[in-house]
Symmetry: C2
Subunit: 344 residues, 2 copies
């Protein structure tokens, strides 16, 4: 599926970034589900994961689900860099393509904060949730705006990108930029580095799902009868379908440098940043996730005053948090329902 | 460390390969440790792992160790494809470089069998052991020559390469061949695809050691003070130091296609091949190995009549079986000592 077009754009104006540049005339693409209550008391924010667009979050926003759009006003902001919000692929010089400035999770949250406060006057959030890089944004929201976030549910993600995870991301970058068609990021839009994206896909395939997933050939449950079909039909298809390499590299930078300790005021102290969180935080790592192992979230959760960890018991690895496996979806939905039911 | 030169060469003659080609004038590079007993009753065979040369096995062959060369005659055959035995890098046309034929674990074992029987008249092996691809050769020996193998100790490896492991290997191949300097394998010997090898190194770095290894920054125990130094000083240094890309790709093929069920006579039936093993097999997977997880060895071991599994409890992942971490080495040595002490 190529990028969706059913979103709206919010003019952010000039967005100062943590690393010094100002992203002039920045835009944030978003989609909303449900209706904002007159007292603005029913807002849920659900940021997006790596390479995903807003539609990838819709599995959590069904009628009858915890985040039922009949009750809540769910806002899904597309990450800066994902091709719909301001991104390497859609920004004119001097910030075009490989010249797009580095964007932190803090920057992502500040852009989203502008949308919520300037467009709708929203002052509190019933829940922030997100998977993977969306989880990192969830943690960042709880640190950056503790006065606004009543509950947080980071799924298969972390408040600081671990070194092992960084190695994975560095391997993706080294591979994608190796394709001679990459041309230092100055490839023509209609001639992206296709072989680099295919190799990128094969690396990702080994990390995204667990040893046990492949042992059980669970890709058959996803509609791919053979390993080779899963690697080409699913994985290569996914990355070759409208995902711009410069955008991917920009998101990789955000991810690799993720750390709530880098929030202004915390001077790199991740533990202090986590201690400052006021709301309940229900982290949901997956037992078999190869890059966000549950041990890491358990360790970070110890510093969060109202933090708890619920491990998804699954063979789907990282994908357990991305909505592809109904039993995992049900466990997540039940946890969200319980969390939303708590008085805040 | 570049390739060692303290080995000897055995002329294999014409070696028929499982896939149909005949490797004419093939040679097997090997090194021996200790002295062959007059009755040839003290032989240990220790095949090599991916990209390794015989010297990588010497950590198990120290005086006082289970495989003490004062007692045993230890033979370390270099894999075909590893640059010392017949390999893409040292074979003349028509089998030079990328035209070298595919070699299976069965072929590797047949070449080693020729060395042992033709050079020394060896008819039985007190122990076959090996790590990673050496473990695959160990399983293969127990299946191909049950009349010769008295005891087997496969370490961090498997009798059949799992699909998840295959995905890892496919990602390495896709990346190494992406470098334009690869030139379809026809690069000049003094101009190998260096950037491809660096990307290859970064992929491998994420797989070779565990999440917890990086979380604890255990690379400092290996002499690398920072993550970046570990990635460049250790990982890139390792792959850029005399390891020929065509040789690596040839070994990857052997590894990816590993399956004792493909031994002639078993018609692809891995379980039947394992059931045919007569000797005790002590498998030693590592708890945190990302590509040979202990669950896999447990599953395979169920089919081996005298099979057992001892899990190395370590954060060193796959490297636990490669001799880099003294506590793991000690556990392995103790298991080998116990196994060698059993009457056969």
């Amino acid at each position: 599926m190529p990028a969706p077009t059913d979103h709206e754009l919010f003019e952010l104006g000039d967005l100062p970034l943590q690393h010094g540049e100002i992203l002039r005339g920045a835009t944030l693409a978003y989609k909303t589900y449900g209706t904002l209550a007159p007292d603005r008391s029913n807002v849920i924010l659900h940021p997006t994961w790596f390479s995903a667009w807003h539609d990838a979050n819709e599995w959590t926003i069904k009628p009858g689900s915890a985040c039922d759009p009949g009750r809540y006003f769910v806002v899904v902001p597309n990450q800066i860099n994902n091709g719909l919000s301001s991104s390497p692929s859609n920004t004119p010089p001097p910030f075009n393509g490989p010249y797009f400035p580095p964007v932190t999770f803090h920057d992502q949250v500040e852009a989203q904060h502008r949308l919520l406060t300037q467009k709708w006057g929203i002052e509190s959030l019933e829940l922030v949730l997100g998977s993977s890089m969306g989880a990192a944004q969830t943690y960042q929201w709880a640190v950056s705006h503790p006065e606004m976030v009543k509950r947080a549910a980071p799924i298969v993600g972390s408040p600081r990108t671990s070194e092992h995870n960084q190695v994975f991301l560095k391997s993706l970058r080294a591979t994608l930029t190796l394709d001679p068609a990459f041309h230092d990021g100055l490839y023509p839009p209609d001639a992206p580095p296709m072989r680099g994206l295919r190799a990128f896909a094969r690396i990702y395939a080994g990390w995204g799902l667990s040893q046990r997933f492949y042992w059980e050939r669970a890709y058959r449950q996803m509609g791919y009868p053979t390993l080779e079909d899963f690697l080409v039909g699913y994985w290569e298809g996914f990355w070759l379908d409208g995902r711009d390499p410069n955008n991917l590299l920009a998101m990789l930078w955000t991810w690799e440098n993720g750390d709530v300790g880098k929030t202004p005021g915390f001077d790199g102290d991740t533990e202090a940043a986590l201690r400052s969180i006021r709301c309940p935080v229900v982290s949901m790592p997956a037992r078999t996730d190869l890059y966000f192992p549950p041990e890491d979230e358990q360790a970070w959760s110890e510093f969060i005053p109202h933090g708890e960890v619920r491990v998804l018991d699954t063979v789907y690895g990282h994908f357990a948090g991305l909505g592809v496996h109904e039993p995992d979806n049900a466990v997540i939905d039940e946890a969200l329902r319980e969390l939303l039911g708590r008085p805040a």
